[in-house]
């Protein structure tokens, strides 16, 4: 198996991009990534595109070919594949690209992610996102995506000493980081009071516990490590790629407050890289809701079960803490264009490892991790990157 490196990255601004179409977004991200890698389109051997629900959001399917076509590559006839795993679509697209390069079948591969979510109303987007859970046995009875995570939050708070204020501090921290990220959907800092006075969405989760509806795209270019220096002076190595699945329905989980798929994917990634949680300098975790970040920190092994709330309050996960979490602002403040999120996480970690993260730069970052969750934990992709 060949070693793989990231040689180029690109990301659109995230937000409500009513002036841009689905095509505009991915072309923008793809162009930035190719420019960053210093390659031309003809050099691309294959593309993998993470997208959750273009069929529901813009009534367009056949996204793989569409993206290759509008990237100006129709006459190059490159293999272009859409990858879908709800909110983990981007993470899985990245993993497919890594596998393609590692196997030796392809050399230069683009992994992208894109979602255009604001072309439908709130009710329709809530329903589309509910498709990330079990439509027949969860969605049918009125389960929404925030509702399922809210039930996780109630279960967690029943078992462990997590306060409502500590949960709010996850959002406060991520907005602080997002305010230092030029592409973030939200550029303003917030307080615990902002979170606690926002409307209830699904008790105990309030509006500011939830990631927003977002348009955006991100792309990265991969190459074999031994060829990476032909393109860039700052290649970032892919040290591990892991994926795990679990029950689609939340009610069938062994423990509602532990995402076993995160536990397993995390262990597989650490084993593959030959590293431990202590070796990680920063991590981008899947904070679609504040409670999800609490679970992720614990399930990835950065602390014991039940401790993440206290450690968040004490600043462990802050930009200047022992383990900066979601330096990009996370899904919460940077935004969550579902299919693009897993690629944006890689984009952020690569910037940090190159020392190009500006006001949110983590000093001396050498090893970073990404954690991308589909649904309520039925799919998880974990990657470790290093310089």
């Amino acid at each position: 198996m060949r070693e793989v490196a990231v040689i180029g990255i690109g990301c659109t601004p995230f937000g409500e991009k009513w002036g841009s179409s689905f095509r505009d977004l991915f072309v923008q991200a793809g162009t930035l990534a190719l420019e960053d890698a210093g390659i031309s389109g003809e050099e691309i051997g294959a593309m993998y595109v993470g997208n959750m629900s273009a069929g529901r959001f813009i009534e367009q399917e056949h996204i793989g070919a569409l993206i290759a076509d509008y990237s100006g590559l129709a006459t190059a006839h490159i293999p272009s594949t859409r990858v879908e795993a709800a909110c983990a679509s981007g993470g899985l697209a990245f993993r497919q690209a890594v596998i393609a390069v590692a196997s030796g079948i392809e050399d230069i591969v683009v992994a992208a992610g894109v979602e255009k979510m604001t072309d439908v109303g709130t009710g329709a987007s809530v329903d589309a996102l509910a498709g990330a859970a079990d439509r027949e046995w969860e969605g049918f009875v009125g389960a929404t995506f925030p509702g399922l995570y809210a039930m996780i939050a109630h279960d967690y708070m029943h078992k462990y000493p997590l306060t409502r204020e500590e949960l709010a501090m996850v959002a406060v921290k991520n907005h602080y980081n997002g305010a230092r990220n030029p592409i973030a959907q939200f550029s303003q800092e917030i307080t615990v009071e902002t979170v606690l006075s926002s409307p209830l969405v699904a008790d105990p989760l309030r509006l500011f516990d939830c990631s927003p509806i977002t348009d955006g795209a991100a792309a990265v270019v991969l190459a074999p490590l031994d060829r990476a220096r032909e393109y860039t002076d700052t290649p970032v190595r892919v040290l591990a790629s892991a994926q795990a699945s679990d029950t689609i329905s939340l009610h069938d989980r062994r423990d509602l407050s532990t995402l076993d798929a995160t536990v397993v994917a995390g262990k597989r990634a650490f084993q593959m890289a030959g590293l431990t949680p202590a070796d990680i300098d920063l991590v981008e975790v899947h904070d679609c809701f504040t409670i999800a970040e609490i679970l992720a920190i614990e399930d990835l092994g950065f602390c014991r079960k039940g401790e993440a709330g206290r450690l968040t309050r004490e600043g462990m996960t802050a930009l200047d803490g022992d383990l900066p979490v979601n330096t990009s602002g996370g899904l919460k403040a940077c935004g969550h264009p579902v299919g693009a999120t897993g690629i944006k996480q890689v984009w952020e970690v690569v910037q940090q490892l190159r020392g190009e993260a500006g006001k949110r730069q983590v000093d001396g970052a050498e090893v970073g991790m990404t954690h991308n969750v589909g649904g309520t934990g039925a799919t998880v992709a974990v990657h470790i990157l290093g310089v």
């Binding site: 709130t122 009710g123 329709a124 809530v126 329903d127 509910a130 027949e136 046995w137 969860e138 969605g139 049918f140 009875v141 009125g142 389960a143 929404t144 925030p146 509702g147 809210a150 039930m151 996780i152 939050a153 109630h154 279960d155 029943h158 409307p199 209830l200 969405v201 699904a202 008790d203 105990p204 989760l205 329905s249 939340l250 009610h251 069938d252 509602l256």
Partner: protein
Amino acid sequence: MSSVARFWRKIPQRYNLVGTRCENCGRYYYPPRTLCPQCRRAGRIREHRFSGKGTVVTYTVIRTASEQFEQMTPYVLAIVQLDEGPRLTAQLVCRPEEARIGMRVRPVFRRISADGESGAIHYGTKFAPDTE
């Protein structure tokens, strides 16, 4: 909108809490399974009708819903553990402030949703507080 046929198939299971039991390992399943996740192909699956008595494992109050459920908000959604073991997601027929973890519940037959103004009406099982 969802087609009638898709949810039609599940009517006996939804109306009467009919699930399955694997006679090989003794485990109960709801929603019903045709393949035992424990024994896989070695399992022997039989139909089982649950009494429906159970306990609330966790719950939430949905304030923002999809279009189909918008008019019902706020409603209580819960994960209920049936006394035989399996868990399912269902609505609770109670006021939001009444819901609590550990509450004993019993099944009630209710309208779940409708496909728009003139579409099919879907029925199924909700749970009410059990005072016995």
